[in-house]
């Protein structure tokens, strides 16, 4: 086994390579599908809902982009190493409950409460990572299990009726604006830029892509793939805590239903954008495109007066359609794909 200076750079797939002419073209093309989808939705929205192009709706869309986007970046990291994180919704709920129960509306205790929430998120991410890395549990089973466990913790802790207030000091994070744009959107932008630089410009990013593309080969070339995979789960959980803070600051109280929903928006956004489910394929730019598309779609549905049921249907259909499109052409064939064809995960 050679320990060269940059052992994995060559094996990294198209994603992080330096953008030459053709690579740049390919990048533009990979964004084509989500942008075309966005154009279609914007057109449909213009036709069906006259009030769609107003500042009020735009602000709402930007807030949604921020909230979904922060979790989608974490989800993208996990997807890139071949996993999936289904515990995000539970972590968001847990964050809200921790903030409300610990501070009881007292702004002076907010700092400690945020640290507690971050610690709780790190623990959840670590449990996910350990199950996947050490016990080789499939990621969707491990994170689904922690989802149920965290839900159980919330129910047992709050006796099924979460109460308490969110301190007002947190509300700028949820409802504030800077240069006319909601703060959550700025937070998302910062998170996305950092993630994009780490993925595209650093050795860590290259190792991450290589781990997702072929964990075994990457491990053999001296990369600690276990740490990278576990790190992605922890990062995803911490970003979920951040989303939880944004959400708590926005609604200002504890929503009992919040922790109940298996929040798939992050998965949907990443997959619509073109991030592969089998690992090693996808960039943050695609996730951003997917987030914008999903946020506009959800806002349009709300404008149409669609209920919770219709929104679930659309989310499900969109995931299915995106995965289907991803699978049928315009991505290079790989041995993995043939395995999928035989019904193997």
């Amino acid at each position: 086994m050679t320990t060269g200076t940059r052992p994995v750079a060559a094996s990294a797939p198209a994603g992080p390579s330096a953008p030459g002419g053709r690579a740049l073209l390919r990048r533009a093309l990979s964004l084509l599908a989500p942008l075309a989808g966005l154009a279609v939705i914007l057109l449909l929205a213009a036709v069906t809902t006259p009030g769609f192009y107003s500042t009020g709706v735009l602000q709402l869309v930007l807030f949604q982009i921020g909230l979904i986007g922060v979790t989608a970046v974490g989800q993208t990291l996990v997807l890139l190493v071949g996993g999936i994180d289904l515990s995000i919704g539970a972590v968001i709920g847990l964050t809200t409950v921790i903030i409300a129960v610990y501070t009881r509306g007292d702004g002076a205790r907010l700092g400690v409460a945020i640290l507690l929430a971050l610690a709780a998120g790190a623990v959840v991410g670590l449990v996910n990572g350990l199950l996947v890395v050490r016990r080789l549990v499939p990621a969707f089973v491990a994170t689904f299990a922690t989802f149920v466990l965290v839900q159980g913790v919330i129910t047992a802790w709050t006796r099924g009726a979460p109460s308490g207030n969110i301190p007002g000091a947190l509300s700028p994070l949820g409802t504030g604006r800077w240069l006319g744009v909601p703060v959550p959107a700025w937070v998302f932008l910062a998170v996305a830029v950092v993630a994009g630089i780490v993925l595209g410009r650093t050795g860590l990013g290259r190792r991450l892509y290589a781990t997702g593309a072929n964990a075994r080969a990457t491990a053999l070339s001296g990369v600690r793939t276990g740490w990278i995979i576990a790190g992605c789960f922890v990062a995803s959980a911490l970003l979920a805590v951040l989303a939880g803070l944004i959400n708590a600051g926005y609604i200002g109280y504890v929503d009992a239903r919040l922790s109940r929903s298996l929040d798939l928006n992050s998965v949907a956004a990443a997959v619509i954008g073109g991030v592969g489910l089998t690992g090693g394929r996808g960039r943050i730019g695609q996730t951003v495109a997917g987030v914008v598309l999903l946020a506009v779609l959800l806002a349009w549905l709300r404008q149409l007066g669609a209920g919770a049921g219709a929104q679930l249907i659309v989310s499900g259909a969109v995931i299915l359609l995106a995965v289907w499109l991803q699978n049928s052409g315009w991505t290079p064939r790989s041995p993995r794909r043939n395995k999928q064809r035989d019904g193997v995960r």
Partner: protein
């Protein structure tokens, strides 16, 4: 890497892994749980009413878990079982709405609906080649959304004949237990004695090899998902019968419970290997645990937490190490 080492040079001793794989481990845990409950509260635990509670809890979970067992054996997973059961329960109560004459056609219609959902899953997995967990995750959303669109509150009413099946019992054995026994017998026969059963193991173990040997991989996969859909729909009918109304959240969490019991039973999530006896032990264990919360007079809010701990423990301890 470590998996290869473990598989290579292990002397023939009965290890924890063997116990897990054959499903013996879960029965040992089950026995220990029964002993502990007997010590804790013999009179309460062995009372016919409590035994009936445990057995009633096994019916819905058991039916759904049988379907999950088949799908997992094929190398897939079905995350939409809970929502399929929900839709079936809701529609059963809504369509029957108290008219005895509608009972039989509606129940048959629900089983067909379940089969249809299964066909969709099977085709998307086997023909289009999408990963099973993402297909069924998406349909989880689709079907749950459909249920919410139909009604967001409990609605409809089943006939007294149907609810009698779920609620009445002979001694400690509820009538509906017979449905589960019948389903178990059918699945056991199919797995052990039919060509489909053998092909299912082959497809789950190595689809490429199975195809090379002339196994109709796509047909086997579709059949597995169809059976899972039908069993989930049947579980939904019994959910409606038990509640006498149809709730749009009736089957919530059933998908994870079924995965838990399948994992507890030592079935490999990679497919091709698993024991039905183990899965049944898992069903009994989980039913025992959830009904013991009431027996031991623990607060009901602990139920979710205990369920979560069991699930996480099952994932951490019982998942047989993957070969990658």
């Amino acid at each position: 890497m470590s998996a290869a080492v473990a598989a290579g040079t292990r002397p023939r001793r009965i290890s924890l892994a063997d116990l897990t794989r054959t499903g013996a481990a879960v029965w040992i845990v089950l026995l220990a749980a029964v002993l502990a409950l007997t010590v804790a509260d013999a009179g309460g635990f062995w009372a016919p009413a409590n035994i009936a509670n445990v057995l009633t809890a096994t019916v819905v979970l058991g039916l759904a878990a049988l379907g999950q067992h088949l799908v997992v054996l094929s190398g897939g997973i079905d995350l939409s079982i809970g929502s399929a059961a929900t839709l079936s329960a809701l529609l059963t109560a809504l369509l029957i709405n108290g008219y005895p004459i509608r009972t039989a056609p509606v129940v048959i219609g629900m089983l067909l609906l379940g089969g249809l959902i299964g066909v969709l899953h099977g085709l998307l997995v086997a023909r289009v080649g999408l990963p099973p967990f993402i297909v069924t995750l998406a349909t989880l959303y689709l079907i749950q959304g459909a249920a919410f669109t139909i009604s967001t509150t409990p609605t409809g009413r089943v006939t007294s004949a149907l609810s009698a099946v779920a609620l009445e019992r002979i001694g400690p054995v509820p009538y509906s237990f017979a449905v589960l026994v019948l389903a178990v017998a059918v699945v056991a026969f199919v797995l052990a004695r039919t060509a489909f059963g053998r092909q299912l193991y082959a497809v789950g173990g190595d689809p490429a090899a199975a195809r090379a040997n002339g196994v109709p991989v796509a047909r086997v996969l579709v059949t597995a998902y169809v059976l899972a859909g039908v069993l989930a729909a049947l579980a939904g009918v019994l959910l409606a019968a038990r509640a006498t109304v149809g709730s749009p959240t009736a089957g919530l969490g059933l998908e994870l419970s079924t995965i838990t019991v399948v994992v507890l039973g030592g079935t490999s999530l990679l497919g091709g290997r698993g024991s039905l006896v183990g899965t049944l032990g898992g069903v009994l264990l989980l039913s025992l645990v959830s009904s013991s919360v009431t027996l031991l007079q623990l607060p009901a809010t602990l139920t979710d937490l205990i369920r979560g701990v069991v699930i996480l423990a099952a994932a951490a301890i019982f998942v047989t190490r993957a070969r990658r």
